[in-house]
Amino acid sequence: MTDFTTAVDATGRADSAAPSGEDTGEQSHLQRGASSITLQGLHKRFGRDAVALDGVDLTIEAGEFFTLLGPSGCGKTTLLRILAGLEEADEGQLNIGGKDVIDVPPHHRSVNTVFQSYALFPHLSVRENLAFGLKMRGMPAAQREQKVAEIAQFIKLGDLVDRRIDQLSGGQRQRIALARALVCEPDVLLLDEPLSALDAGLRSQLQVELLRVQKRLGMTFVFVTHDQDEAMVMSDRIAVLNGGKIQQVGAPREVYERPSNAFVARFMGHDNLYRVTARNGNRLTTELGELEVEQDGGGDLVLIRPETLDLKPGHVEGVNHLHGRIAERLYRGSHAEFRLELAGTTLQAVVNNRGKHMPDVGDEVTVLVAPEDLVTLSE
């Protein structure tokens, strides 16, 4: 049983009045409440030639906040729907909490979903929406009411529970949808772009709230998004998908800093990818010039992350130094983004605003990059 009795406020912080022994209690819930997921060789196609999933193998640990990230049509939503049981896989195996569930219909799976459109029942009040899953499972009314009251306190719904669905704002609906799924105490909670319909401010507030809820409950969350920033903020681990295949699985820092191929690098927002034309030990000949890397992982591309670059006025020598001219500067307050022209191509650089000298358009500069910050990868 998951314990909802400790409330989380709007920013997700636990009530300060909570007893100090709380943490050990949380720990035991984590072990009982969460389930791991294993997928093996999942294939799914729609119609004759639309391949949604093309052989997906994946293990999601119990209690993990796991994100499926990718552009639209990459198969992430199909994968989530197969986990929910709303879509059937053509081939492959699916285990949730050690049980083979590939043929189990959705209403017999201990998995709940927070839908992108929230999917709150319009003919029911908020309270009845929250109790729906429990009622369908045959829980007696008195117990249902108690559970609903607990979840309402946990998610801090306040007097929202007595409203009608059409009286709620988008953010409120989102939280009701979350509460409606959590109150069923599923082994796994699935979230299908639950924040995409909200404006930026509310969105980042709910990101924090969602993350804190997950950490307190220790429940396994599988989260789908196309927004790499959201994925990095929220996730313990991220799987990047494209064309129905997993491109990379790893912690946010791994995926962002060590993308395993050009698709992942571009999707994580990196533009500085340059062709490697020759290599001699750790010295690479690239479109930009000679670059020394700490470790050459092979592949015919080198990635230079804009924020690892150092810009120095004039001509300076260093391990990896490139000379260029600033073609464009976007001043963003906390930092500035530069577009440099060098070696017949362009290079993006991001420099934090430390209040010192900031180069301007037309300046000749030296770009310094440390060998350990360079990543080689293949297309």
Partner: protein
């Protein structure tokens, strides 16, 4: 042209249309309260024709038949049309062109063709099996056939207006197929069902042509009675029946609209 004059002109046109539509009804209603039996001159106010209705056994039995026919056919049409409407919704992505036309055809088919076909069918059926002698049962069957498309349409459009993920949410929240019908689908489309019932009810009460061809000697409804009585000339009694029918149908139509508008 002057905008205000234009608007005033359109308003006048609107009221003229209303008068054109409802003046004949108003005349019938007015003369149903006529003290004399003249169809030309209003001599005074009286409820005598309404009193006379109550004493007329034929009219009372026609009234009962109308009511029984309308209620039973509407309930049956509701059950069948509801299932068809859901089926149309579930398979809306498939190409159902000719099937949909089959369902809609009764709406556009001339009543008289429909009525004659029904009659011919029942006569043959009775001759071969001995069942379904023309009477209330055959009328109920005939009415159900023309009510179904309307019910199916209303139910279908209600389902189309719903967020499709609601069906998935119900599954996801542990509702078995039966529980999905009882706790999600029926409550969600309840306003549409009530609306469809009242529409079917008015269609049935309104119908003369199809009833005429499928009725038996004992199963005359009000429209059939009026048709028979009118051959002897328009009596003020008919005006009273007509007025009551206008009232009943208007009431049912208002209910139908009310519930169709209410999106739960």
């Amino acid at each position: 042209m002057n905008k205000r004059a234009m608007r005033r002109g359109l308003t006048t046109f609107w009221w003229l249309t209303v008068v054109f539509l409802y003046l004949p009804l108003a005349v019938v209603m007015l003369f149903s309260f006529n003290a004399s039996n003249s169809a030309a001159r209003m001599t005074g106010f009286s409820l005598r024709w309404y009193h006379q209705l109550l004493g007329n056994e034929q009219i009372m039995s026609a009234f009962a038949n109308t009511l029984i026919l309308a209620v039973i056919s509407s309930v049956i049409a509701l059950a069948i049309g509801c299932m068809i409407g859901y089926g149309m919704y579930r398979h809306r992505h498939r190409k159902l062109g000719w099937l949909i036309i089959l369902i809609y055809l009764p709406i556009v088919l001339p009543d008289i063709v429909f009525g004659i076909s029904e009659m011919a069918f029942f006569v043959q059926f009775h001759r071969l099996t001995g069942f379904l002698q023309p009477g209330l049962t055959t009328m109920i069957i005939a009415h159900v056939t023309f009510q179904i498309p309307f019910v199916a349409l209303i139910v279908y459009s209600r389902f189309v207006g719903l967020d499709p993920t609601l069906f998935e949410a119900a599954k996801d929240l542990y509702a078995s197929p039966v529980k999905r019908v009882v706790h999600f689908m029926l409550p969600t489309i309840k306003p549409a069902l009530i609306s469809a019932f009242f529409l079917s009810f008015t269609l049935s009460v309104d119908d003369f042509v199809i009833s005429f061809f499928t009725s038996g000697p004992e199963s005359a409804t009000l429209p059939i009675y009026i048709w028979g009585a009118i051959k002897k000339g328009i009596s003020p009694e008919i005006n009273a029946i007509a007025t009551l029918m206008i009232g009943a149908v208007a009431l049912a139509a208002v209910f139908s609209l009310m519930f169709n508008r209410r999106r739960a």
